[in-house]
Symmetry: C2
Subunit: 645 residues, 2 copies
């Protein structure tokens, strides 16, 4: 008999060799229908693989990331099987699961190409094969056997991969007529793959190396139910329409220039207005919460990052150091703002009465990313963190967490992010040695964070062992209107930098103490946050954020003077207003400005001039009738105040 420990720490005895599927059946048959993978002592495995020793286990359904991984990985094999039947002699590179689905890099052979036209045919074949419910069979083999197998098959890609593996850790998975080099895990059989969609085809260099052969990468996604696929495809269409790269261009928010460089956004006037409104909004909140703004340079001597440990940890993967034409100095582009803020803390002696000290900066940082990893504003090489570092006494950690949570909740409320959860990342209690800081401080901080989330009534998961080596943290995960999850807002305790910078304060006991440091960024970065906001709102920013709030449309050039008068009136109330004075029909002007997603269109003609009024069209609501100019301003200000409260 072996002892199986379940996630709730209950322990039960089973016969040796029992597998995950049998464990699930022992719990309930509905669970057995849904379980697709198992974690055995934190290693994810096939649910049909026997367990021969005492183990802590966790069963995964499709809804879990681990379940999706097994499901999509199996789907990649299924696609490979289909491809091999349609394109005999096709060779295979790698075929992993990814965040949404899977892909396989394939070489259809000299002179042959697979185009998007072929996807329906491959899909059809996959449905046919999945219907056969072929079992996935794992076989552990020696390196020599593996090499022999692929030599015989004539697949040089797999041979290259096998050559890099250690003997004794190689396995093959076979289902139906297809065998693949694979460490698993997989579904028991292809049956559960009920809904299949191949999404697109791209070129991909073998091993990501542009000097090597370009393979064909086929992307797909699968689900256990057709309804899930349908929902996903609707979401995908919505996401496409909301893509911040597309909207950023259409709304003229930001641009990129090949000469300036990839991943380095240039914020255009409308994007700058949006970003500055967000920054000023947070600055105001932070001021009310006692934050002290600072401005620090975008470079520092290498020495600073040697002290902070960033150089040792990230040095070689970062932009290389900047040398000077004389004097032999070495600088680094700032990858983080914290070391600069530590130097500000350290510039003079601090007393317990000075704490908490909340130093804040919208600080631009630069981090090298490979060009293939870059994506719009969400993955860039330069970005601005709405950064703050709170230096406090250990007994102030909870109070500071409560205050930061208040700020984050206020932001979410104001920006209409209604659906979010939090994750509390704590130490692994069985491996305390790998963390810096005293037991006492860790316990105090972890307790403080949990209490703070409870006092604020936050929905949360607690993850043991997910804390950074230097402290526990709290993350906010937001679901946008089309159901995608974004990690926005982090509050992180840090015992490491105070040590490395030898920070001190004089306590009420007249002794030297070490402060605790808290990193926090409610937006995360301005770039990423604006990207999420664009996709969340589909570019229909709330009135207070809209780069242009009102556009005035004179019916003909005769009314341009009156339009000018309305503009000046609104400008006096700091309402961001434009005039569309083009010599176009009013219908076209309305359509063109609706595309720009400007919250209010004011149409002015003979009647409006005579009565000193404006004809109001509201975004998404259409004609709101004619209003006195003063009344329009009052209603606008009312709407602005509602948003911000």
């Amino acid at each position: 008999m072996i002892k199986i420990t379940f996630p709730d720490n209950s322990v039960k005895e089973y016969k040796e060799g029992i597998n995950g599927l049998e464990l699930a059946k022992d719990i309930s048959s509905s669970l057995a229908n849904e379980v697709v993978a198992i974690s055995v002592n934190n290693e994810i495995r096939d649910i049909t693989r026997p367990i021969n020793n005492d183990a802590a286990i966790k069963l995964h359904k499709f809804d879990d990331p681990e379940g999706k991984h097994a499901f999509w990985h199996s789907s990649a094999h299924l696609m490979a099987e289909a491809l091999e039947q349609i394109y005999p002699g096709i060779k295979f590179g790698i075929g992993p699961s990814v965040e949404n689905g899977f892909y396989y890099d394939v070489d259809p052979g000299d002179g042959k190409v697979i185009t998007e036209d072929a996807l329906p045919k491959i899909e059809k074949k996959m449905y046919e094969l999945s219907g056969q419910n072929s079992k996935f069979i794992r076989k552990e083999i020696s390196k020599k056997e593996a090499l022999d197998y692929y030599k015989k098959k004539g697949d040089e890609y797999k041979l290259e991969l096998i050559n890099e593996l250690e003997d004794g850790e190689i396995s093959l998975y076979t289902h139906g007529k297809f065998t693949d080099l694979c460490r698993g895990p997989h579904l028991p059989d292809t049956g559960p793959i009920k809904a299949i969609k191949l999404l697109n085809i791209a070129g991909a260099y073998w091993r990501g190396d542009e000097k090597r052969k370009q393979l064909t990468r086929i992307y797909g996604i699968t689900f256990p139910k057709k309804k899930m696929l349908d929902d996903y495809l609707v979401m995908l269409e919505q996401a496409k329409a909301r893509d911040h790269r597309k909207l950023g261009k259409e709304l003229e928010l930001f641009t990129f220039s090949p000469k300036v460089g990839q991943g380095l956004p240039l914020w255009l006037p409308k994007g700058t207005a949006l970003r500055e409104t967000l920054e000023n909004f947070l600055k105001k909140v932070q001021k009310e919460h006692g934050y002290l703004p600072v401005i620090t340079p975008h470079i520092a001597q290498k020495e600073l990052y040697v002290t902070s440990g960033h150089y040792e940890k990230y040095g070689v993967d970062s932009f290389r150091p900047i040398s000077t034409p004389a004097e032999g100095e070495e600088f680094l582009l700032k990858p983080m703002n914290c070391p600069h803020h530590c130097e500000i803390y350290k510039r003079k002696p601090r007393s317990y009465k000075d704490l908490p000290l909340r130093i804040a900066e919208f600080g631009a940082v630069y981090r090298y990313e490979q060009s293939g990893e870059l994506h719009g504003l969400t993955r860039v090489r330069g970005f601005t963190i709405d950064d703050s570092h709170i230096f406090c006494r250990p007994d102030q950690v909870k109070e500071e967490f409560l205050k930061v949570i208040d700020i984050i909740l206020y932001i979410f409320r104001t920006l209409n992010f209604k659906d979010f959860t939090t994750q509390v990342s704590l130490r692994d209690p069985n491996d305390k040695d790998k963390y810096i800081g005293t037991d006492e401080n860790w316990e105090k901080a972890e307790k403080a964070i949990i209490e703070a989330t409870e006092e604020k009534g936050l929905e949360k998961t607690i993850e043991l062992g997910e804390a950074a080596f230097y402290g526990p943290k709290l993350d906010f995960i937001v679901k946008d209107v089309i159901g995608r999850k974004w990690q926005l807002g982090t509050i992180q305790v840090d015992y490491n930098l105070p040590d490395r910078f030898e920070m001190e304060y004089i306590g009420s006991d007249d002794q030297k103490h070490r402060p605790v440091m808290i990193h926090r960024a409610p937006f995360g970065s301005m770039e990423r946050f604006v990207a999420v906001l664009i996709e969340h709102t589909a570019g229909k920013f709330p009135l207070w954020l809209a780069p242009d709030q009102v556009v005035i449309l004179p019916i003909s050039e005769k009314f341009n003077d009156y339009a000018e008068k309305v503009l000046n009136f609104l400008n006096n109330y700091d309402i961001r207003t434009l005039i569309d004075s083009r010599n176009e029909k009013i219908g076209k002007k309305i359509r063109d400005n609706e595309i720009k997603k400007i919250p209010y269109l004011l149409i002015v003609g003979e009647k409006e001039v005579t009565n000193n009024t404006v004809s109001v069209r509201k975004r998404g609501e259409g004609d709101k009738g004619t209003m006195k100019l003063e009344d329009f301003v009052v209603s606008l200000n009312k709407e602005l105040e509602e948003h911000l409260n």
Copy 2:
């Protein structure tokens, strides 16, 4: 006879060999008393040196920079004479005139030192020697003669200098018993040096090379009148008290960290508040003037600066390029914002109707300076330009100049810079080939600038040949309250970058045209401007700029609650307010807060609590009596509005 052309272009004939002094006497004896140097065909010379050919001349008094140069250069020789008499065997490095006075680098010989204690004695000897009215006698000699002279004298420093000179361009100047290697010019004799002050002593490596011997640098200044020296010394004392480095530290505006690096200021909370107030002030003005804010990254690919020409021109003297860990890219820290803004112009086709396009950014740039050149906030390695680039049609240049001048004058008025002049820098009409851009455009732009300054009634000097090769410009030179001049505010036409970036717009004629670019920065840089502002105001910032506008001083802890109430009341009106709740006597609190130069101190005790009032002390004016809280806010807002109008 030779023809002499005077600065007013009048021409007169004189006998060959006439000198500057004689020319001055021919005009008036009072001029002859004051003239100290002459420019002959733009080469500055002794006024006693004969003129043998037709020439354009300009006579210089002490008030001119050229006059000061001759005066102080002669004073350096006078000091050297004194030193040689006091320290026989002393050796001399170089002894130039500088912005304010002169210095000489000397080597008193092994084991000997000159300390500040010795300065009065040297000064006394200089007075004695100047009284001898020794004539400065110029002698042109061969390289061999020069080398022989200094070999005999045993001065290895002068020998090293001579070795680097071309034969035929070497001259010695002798006065009294002292002879120096020197190209001049000098006064006719030592007589005019009537007021002498040696200022301080510093170490200086020979040839600025830290591997070579450290010499003793003695700084001094001289004047033709004692009153001028007295005034200068008073100004120097005032300048010391106003030194922005000292005040910046005392008022906690900014700091430097050796780990971050020299010349890289860290703006502390109070300095950040000051700077942001200035930025928001200018942003508001710029918005009213139709500027469009953008935000661009602090790095760009080297390629961008190759296109702009900055790499070729400044590349080797700048921070070295930043390479990437993979992909072989090369980036540069941004030394200027213009190339980024050019890319924004170029991102889409532009029509004549889109112009002028005014792109604005508070853009941080980085330029390498040798550490010896760094000085507080006025000479740094990283600074933020209040930058804007106006892209316009050639016919819009004048209008744009008028508008920028309006902004600059508004800033000067608001910040109480009352005393300023302007300089218009034009092409050298005799050397048109060295400038880029068409004759027609140059003429149009130069005319536009001159007309604009005339329409605005600006006091100006016009300097031919002072334009950049790429366009004419207008500079504003401000005198601060202690009489020092600062160049603040530049408007620069540029025909070069539009060419290099191949910028275009479609004209009303449907043809492609090249826009004109105007660079402008009213503050220049935030760092330098704040430094000037600190020194101009001695840290007593006007109310609207003061980082802390009001501090509340409770007479005892009993009144802290009421202080808190007053604070909240003022915060509601966005008045930047502090409480000094320390357990100290009220007299000490008043003194401590007066040192911080906070505009208003509000004292609150029993009486104030009872009557809901505050006792007001105004900076520089003292007790203003007791006021109702509401009345205080009204009077404060009135003062704020007056400043900004």
